[in-house]
Symmetry: C2
Subunit: 517 residues, 2 copies
């Protein structure tokens, strides 16, 4: 044994030398890879041996955590999340959505240049056999890639993906799908029961028109738009500073923009902008304003105008939007307000660049817009382009709002309907047999994984897991072909002993009772 | 404009020089990162400008594909997949499963050393801010990490994850949860309607006992086990060659193993092994055989013994199993049989190392086993260990079996119940208003996104999407407060014009008809 260990250690040293030598010679990557794989295998063998005999155990301490920016969800949290997902999916299906799926990572070049300043948040994979890949950053760019690849079959599609993204692709009469997508947002947010919300709406063309009218040079329009996008979280002075100092905008131009972006309101704001002759003379602004008029008309038909705020400060960070843009916020979206009425300023956690979450609101809870050129960026010809409009529900943010609303301990995370209990003697195989009958009849059932469990712990499981009914068995009763069914929701355990039924009537009796729940 | 372009190109060159210089000086990564980000931003700006003015358009041709080893699923395929997922989840819930979720990537060190020879299939992420991460390879290791992190709350849990992995964690009486997990496998595979299947069962301790009795040196047990695992796809001669030539096993020992691993059968094989005094004298083999006896007893109670084949050649590739192991196969699992009865040998595609899929079967369609030490590998103390047993359903393989069964074109991928149609005049806003009524009543409805659609294309949508009912509106009828409801499943379009109902009765009438579907 010790000899094997020594020989293994020697082999590891030799293999390590080989790898280092190859790397020093800048040998072909495939050669190095083969040797590295062999080295890792030897090292694993070593861990197995030293782990098994225990003598030379030098287990390096693992850090038990999830990667930065990720987290686990436990079963109570997941019960809430699944309710969120099923609510959203039922709205999407109600509007004729079909679902597709795309891989969790894409070729790097597919994602490159689609997100503007947010690109730096993309995770790259290490090169594995000649392909550079990145984790997907949203579902929109992969959907556009899917459409470009399958364009001939998908001149139009309403698709949703992973219970959060809904998009309508295709050429239609203006603002018709756009207004339905906003109606879908309203239905989702209403049915998710997250409190009152407002949908801020703007139009990229109106915004671009304003920038042009104010005198922003063309190549600065997207960077300046990114700066405006921060207005929901950052005071105007800071945004102005970003425009002038970081992005080199003329301060007079910045102040001119500042006057426009403070406007928000409803139809009356739209009418006011139609009075602005300088704006109307701009082709972009005019086109945007005309579409906005139509949108308001359709949203009125759909009965959701009361949820809408036309907000000229809404810009959306992503580069790919070309038309209508929108973002839903709730009272919980902004940073918390202090007792004296001032807003808390966002702070970073000491020594890190992560925001201290107690000083931020959850931000927007759903957002989207029209992106008419993204599919075309992938397609070979102009004909390959497909205009799209969509919305993404911020399920993480919705979830954190709902977490505050529910008492996590009281959330039922399993769906068990019947617990099979033995009063004495264990009767393991009888409990198993009854459970198998229940399962085969489609009833959700469990039993305790013990040969001879005590009675009280079995009752406690029913309590803990909020299981409504118990089937209780004893030797004598089984011999007479009887079982007891007990309603566990009445707290008189031990007192009311349940109803005796014939074993052959058990399933029917339980189905009857479960049907009434 | 041209000046801006030139100045931008100059800036890119300068920034590129800075990056190269920093890299040459081996400057701190964070400095390089900042400059690289700035460079990328400039390059994106360039793409925007050259893209917009079109003159200097030098769009590099994108390869439109998904990364190697990944694929998209279209809406018809997803309809089948969702049926697969919902079937499996309903079985998991029936057995009291709760669901948790873990991130798609984990710290690299969490996954390292858990998968044996399969480790080379793990994707690593590029270092992003000091953490080395890898995409998860299965759901078992992340689950074990989750348990080790939250051990005090989870001394026992039945959990499922993403509709395919079910595990029971906790210390229980032997073989009780193991037999339920196998019962769950049977229910899933039966309800998925993929044809007849067999569950091959073996026990790691029996296998290790056999290896010990045959004279395999301890450090070679896992590698030899990996070789045996290939017996379902590879002839014995090739496996023997791997054992002796690649892994340096004495040929006499290999032949001795060869005699054992050809055994398969039911209870009678178990009885035969109990006669093997040499095997019974081995502690591992004896412990495994005793557990196997108990397992057969419980599987008989659960009524699934007819699905079971005790198979001594089953080894399972992954290192972490410690007890019972199992694998379900169907007729479609093996390589296709030629007309003369011989099996097709697996071939690789020309010039690649990918298998030609026409020469392979789908392999096992569900598999799992007991892994009693994996949580302990993450835990700080022996007390932190939690024994587990689980199963993973091979949803990809189940899906490809079902794909062969269904005619993809005839799969209904949307759930729309009612299509709202105008006979003339377009009536867009009226169609919108009626749809809003239907949606608000929970009815799945659509209308055509055109101001003035023709009648025939609207009927065609109902046909194409298999929509059962249409609400048909005309100006005169609307004025009288009436709409028509037409059953679209009867093919007499234009003929039977539908039933006129009062607008105020429309919802009730539709709900009544939909209830009868």
């Amino acid at each position: 044994m010790e000899e094997d260990l020594e020989s293994l250690k020697r082999k590891i040293k030799e293999k390590g030398d080989t790898v280092r030598a190859l790397k020093a010679q800048k040998a072909d990557k495939s050669f190095v890879d083969v040797e590295v794989a062999a080295l890792l295998k030897l090292k694993n063998q070593l861990t197995c041996i030293t782990g098994e005999d225990g003598s030379s155990k030098s287990k390096t301490k693992l850090t038990l955590k999830t990667p930065k920016g990720t987290r686990d969800y436990n079963e109570k949290e997941m019960a809430i999340r699944e309710k969120v997902f099923s609510t959203i999916i039922s709205v999407f299906k109600r509007h004729g959505g079909v679902t597709i799926d795309t891989p969790v990572f894409e070729l790097k070049e597919i994602l490159a240049g689609k997100y503007g300043e947010e690109s730096k948040l993309i995770y790259d994979l290490e090169d594995q056999g000649g392909e550079k890949c990145s984790l997907r950053y949203d579902l929109t760019v992969p959907f556009a890639r899917f459409l470009a690849m399958n364009g001939t079959q998908y001149q139009n599609i309403k698709r949703y993906q992973i219970a959060k993204d809904f998009d309508v692709a295709g050429s239609y009469d203006p603002m018709v799908p756009d207004s339905e997508v906003i109606k879908i947002m309203c239905e989702c947010l209403t049915e998710l029961e997250i409190g009152t919300f407002i949908i801020k709406i703007n139009h990229r063309k109106i915004l671009d028109g304003i920038f042009e009218v104010c005198g922003v040079p063309e190549e600065k329009i997207r960077p300046i738009s990114s700066a405006v996008d921060k207005l929901d979280k950052t005071p105007w002075e800071d945004v102005r500073k970003e425009m002038t100092e970081e992005k080199g905008l003329d301060p007079i131009v910045a102040d001119h923009i500042g006057e426009y972006v403070k406007f928000k309101g409803g139809k009356e704001l739209l009418e006011r902008l139609f009075q602005d002759q300088k704006l109307l003379a701009n082709a972009n602004a005019k086109a945007g304003l005309n579409e906005m008029i139509l949108l308001f008309q359709y949203l009125e038909v759909f009965g959701v105008l009361d949820k809408i705020s036309f907000d000229l400060s809404l810009a959306r960070g992503l580069d790919y939007y070309t038309g209508i843009i929108y973002e839903a916020v709730t009272e919980l979206s902004g940073p918390p307000t202090l007792e004296d009425g001032t807003k808390v300023k966002r702070k970073t956690k000491k020594g890190t660049d992560e925001f201290d979450e107690t000083t931020v609101g959850v931000g927007s809870i759903a957002a989207g817009g029209r992106y008419d050129n993204l599919v075309g960026m992938f397609a070979n010809s102009k004909k390959g382009n497909i205009p799209c409009v969509g919305v993404s529900i911020g399920v993480e943010r919705v979830f954190s709002i709902l977490l505050q609303k529910y008492q996590l301990e009281q959330v039922k995370s399993n769906e068990v309907e019947v617990y099979v209990i033995a009063v004495a003697d264990g009767l393991l195989e009888d409990r198993m047999k009854i459970c198998a009958e229940l399962w085969n009849a489609g009833i959700k059932a469990e039993f305790m994984y013990k040969i001879k469990p005590k009675l009280q712990p079995q009752f406690s499981v029913c309590d803990r897991d909020q299981i409504p009914f118990a089937v209780i068995i004893g030797k004598d009763e089984l011999n007479c072909g009887q079982v007891k069914i007990k309603d566990m929701r009445s707290k008189e355990q031990g007192g009311g002993a349940g109803t005796s039924v014939k074993r052959s009537d058990m399933i029917a009796e339980l189905k009857n009772r479960l049907g009434k729940l």
